[in-house]
Symmetry: C2
Subunit: 459 residues, 2 copies
Amino acid sequence: MSAGWFRRRFLPGEPLPAPRPPGPRASPVPYQRPRFLRGSGSSPGAADASRRPGSRPVRSPARGRALPWNAGYAEIINAEKSEFNEDQAACGKLCIRRCEFGAEEEWLTLCPEEFLTGHYWALFDGHGGPAAAILAANTLHSCLRRQLEAVVEGLVATRPPMHLSGRCICPSDPQFVEEKDIKAEDLVIGALESAFQECDEVIGRELEASGQVGGCTALVALSLQGKLYVANAGDSRAILVRRDEIRPLSSEFTPETERQRIQQLAFVCPELLAGEFTRLEFPRRLKGDDLGQKVLFRDHHMRGWSYKRVDKSDLKYPLIHGQGRQARLLGTLAVSRGLGDHQLRVLDTNIQLKPFLLSVPQVTVLDVDQLELQKDDVVVMATDGLWDVLSNEQVAWLVRSFLPGNQEDPYRFLKLAQMLIHSTQGKEDGLTGEGQVSYDDVSVFVIPLHSQGQDSSGP
Amino acid sequence: MSAGWFRRRFLPGEPLPAPRPPGPRASPVPYQRPRFLRGSGSSPGAADASRRPGSRPVRSPARGRALPWNAGYAEIINAEKSEFNEDQAACGKLCIRRCEFGAEEEWLTLCPEEFLTGHYWALFDGHGGPAAAILAANTLHSCLRRQLEAVVEGLVATRPPMHLSGRCICPSDPQFVEEKDIKAEDLVIGALESAFQECDEVIGRELEASGQVGGCTALVALSLQGKLYVANAGDSRAILVRRDEIRPLSSEFTPETERQRIQQLAFVCPELLAGEFTRLEFPRRLKGDDLGQKVLFRDHHMRGWSYKRVDKSDLKYPLIHGQGRQARLLGTLAVSRGLGDHQLRVLDTNIQLKPFLLSVPQVTVLDVDQLELQKDDVVVMATDGLWDVLSNEQVAWLVRSFLPGNQEDPYRFLKLAQMLIHSTQGKEDGLTGEGQVSYDDVSVFVIPLHSQGQDSSGP
């Protein structure tokens, strides 16, 4: 992204980039379920639409079709909120090739064989249609592989070199890298950040070309060189569950959790609100009766609350409105990070959502090699449909109730994923008692850490 | 601050506010030491300038002049870095009056007597001259009192009302406040945030009027209604030291810790850099030999690192440059939050620092009433001169070595503050062993939590 990109793209009065010549419209992204579900029990695709309330099928990979590390997966479509399941998933081995520095200061792939191997699991929760999530599921791992291959020399060095060629321009180059404490791990974080951005651009281009719209959240777990990287943009969640520990591996990005960032942008670039919204937060939307009163409010720089006297401009619709699950950015979107949404505008206006959204994920690093792993240590990744009705503690309780008694069952992680889905459907399973019901799409990965690939051939 | 304020103030092409008519220049802010040092042993004021290396006096309040809660205080001037001691301090009782809602929907002070009592300790570390820190020491507590008085009705309610009048416009008003979980504590945080901003504006006006320049950091501890609020803007630090616990009560705001916020602003408003700086971070400043190479870099959205091919614009001076104590914003300033600096520009340019600085503090709340307080539990607040040479652990070790054996000494907190200052002077005191030397101004408060005002008459 160039320095002026943001302003050219979003601020009025800046010269606009030349519009692309209208080409032939690409064909729309076809609806599909994750590839690893092919051949599984329940009927795929449009047949989902025939579901009746209470009879939604839980889908999992066919037995015998092992996912990386023998991870379990299960999903359920929403209760007729949308025609299609807008969640998507992907997983696989990530083969990172080594490139070597060749002639003419260009990077040449001299030995294209696999050099480093990673494993990858990803969940995407779409909105405004399934297209963005499908594109993300088909694309993000390729972006990530490309980004990792671009820095692979740095990944395998004791410390990444200042110059990718390894040549020092100054004798003190290694000292500068050491002073900033830049580690191989930071290159993986950087690669994840860049991959999300690259994927976002691909989705923008593809959806524009096919005349489709929509966006999605993205939650990725990447295992590489003994570490597990969890990258999150949106409101899905990953947690580590061990016998004596529940550790969140991600945090959610919603208009509420990112209030200050979003208000700050509206403060610096008020034209993004086109005079239609107020950036201030109030306990509720204000109305005529509030005029002249002193009411509770928060601005971009405040973590605390104060009172202000209400004037007419405070009666506008709030930039961020609603509470908890109902919170919306510009009255439109429930998440503040994710991929896609390039064309999204506030209904009946020209106000764009995209400048307020970030495609960059937050990345958490779990040093798996430093954990004294137990057989039942797992990472649970799921879309918000699960976490809306189950707490981290309830999920951990289900994990700890089920796994220890089923250590010999080769399908235990798959069954646990299914059980987690069932627990979102208010079923009396004797575990969580009277359950809440999720009417959203729900998708779950259960990733066992103990096997870490040794056991990856699965059952 | 109005929505357009930032752009009008800092962005070229925006209509400028009409300049103030040049009035008679106000007299410059006179140099002084904190009021509570009057009558203390070492000679005050300009006599500081007569110091010789190794013979700098440690100054403390005169014995018999007790500070709130019998807190200890000590300070030392720098080793001829500047003519004056640029640190300042203030402390005292904060008497918050109650205002009642009177006729004509205006707030009238009906019972001006004291209603709530707080205690206040503050440290200011000036730069570019002592004026901003002196103004802050003279002003911030008044701003804070005013801000607290403006919301005092909310402070004493079970929950702050949506409307300061207490009248509900909607029957569901209390429910909205409860859903957002707004507490009295949030009003104190908001008051601290607003007070810092108000004080910053006062300093801007006063310095402009007197033709002076400069800025300062601000660290405030406020005790109110059984809680201790620590508000920090800059690189001073407060920690809680107990027998078994060291708890940081603040974090530092420097160009390094706020890199992403600062780079983000330069990304959205590149004109703030006037084409003279690059917002990108590299391990060191790049030079001609790096052109065309792929080097490590970070942009505003990245917590990780990646490589980019160097082009000519990357050779510009970096927005944030240097490492640790040497890190500078725009080559000029070592802190990224504080008060003042309204006129500060990059040497020989028109590039302003102020748009990148925040005057708003981060506020930490310590629920003192919930701690099982021991006699030797203290909060240590100090400017960066102390923390540059002593770690939290070393400070805690000094606290724990000294206090238990001196419980009957009424001057023990004062002596501990002096001992902490001595430990920054490389003196062999048998406690920290071979000590590092701080050549900076150093100021320390030691605030005992156990007495909490009960004992505030002091020795």
